[in-house]
Symmetry: C2
Subunit: 183 residues, 2 copies
């Protein structure tokens, strides 16, 4: 009996982990137990009710969408010298991690660099056209990534930049970006 219960509770946990939108009713049917059993299980596992779970997801949404979503600049702008240099900082969080290696996924580091480059281009129509990038060492959650973009050359319709990202003074990323500013 005890085994059955443990089994159900762990399944319940993972079920709700990747689908928080299930009612106690639905869960009871899935496990073929009474609704009260489900409620007791939730109590013991410290899982809040449907509405609270949904609220939590919704709140996370508000926070996470900012972590890599629609913001123009990924990270926080620290310094901005038009036509010369821009610096942004970004705190690496668990949301950015690749499970298998526990390291920050390359696209997040690229995103910080690329968005800073576009920001520094300071044109309403800047578009990244080329980049040569190096990820010098893996980054872990909790590190603060400071990214610096510097304009190295400027042509009529192109801007060349050097972008580097450091954590604790060690360079973790370096890249050369070419942006198009036709218009």
């Amino acid at each position: 009996m005890r085994a059955k219960k443990r089994q159900r509770q762990s399944e319940l946990q993972s079920l709700l982990d990747d689908n928080p939108f299930l009612t106690d009713q639905e869960l009871a049917e899935k496990f073929a137990v009474s609704i009260q059993t489900i409620r007791l299980d939730r109590m013991e596992l410290g899982i809040p009710e449907l509405r609270e779970r949904v609220k939590m997801v919704a709140n996370d949404a508000y926070a996470k969408i900012k972590s890599l979503g629609e913001e123009a600049l990924i990270g926080d702008l620290q310094e901005f010298v038009p036509g010369v240099r821009a610096v942004s900082s970004l705190d690496a969080t668990m949301d950015m991690i690749y499970d298998r290696t526990m390291t920050v996924r390359a696209e997040h580091i690229f995103a910080q660099a690329n968005s800073l480059a576009i920001c520094l281009a300071n044109s309403s129509e800047a578009v990244t056209v080329q980049a040569s990038i190096e990820f010098l060492r893996p980054v872990y959650a909790g590190e603060r990534l400071v990214c610096t973009a510097t304009i190295s050359k400027r042509e009529e319709k192109r801007i060349y930049m050097e972008v580097t990202t450091s954590s604790n003074d060690a360079v973790v990323f370096a890249g050369k970006f070419i942006l198009d500013i036709s218009v």
Copy 2:
């Protein structure tokens, strides 16, 4: 009188737009009207109740987090020949867009390519160490991006890949990736 109502309704609309978590009770207090007035306003504006609003935000979260968040592979795997080639497809949505140019942000295209490369590396410890990438033309919302990664060279601890992304048979992105598989 009519002016007052219009004023209130438009304020209500924008209030709820950037904070969907307000109850009718709270709104009534904010506007110093009865709760029924708020309900009528919501009806006229077609704004659903708190719980529905929260649910919508939570659902968006689920969709958006997948758009560039925690998934191992960004896009859907279409083909996978271990050690040789992998193909994924990704539908460009409005969530991926840079407002100023209305084009898909480079990091999303990079993310699709990079995550496919890591997937193809098929090692529990693959890490991108270098990439030379080109964005050949801008991508707009609605396009279907088909990304192909091919292994071009394999060393003891490194994998070299060619990754290209096409939309309607035109190549929009091309890159050479070097991954580290030390372990």
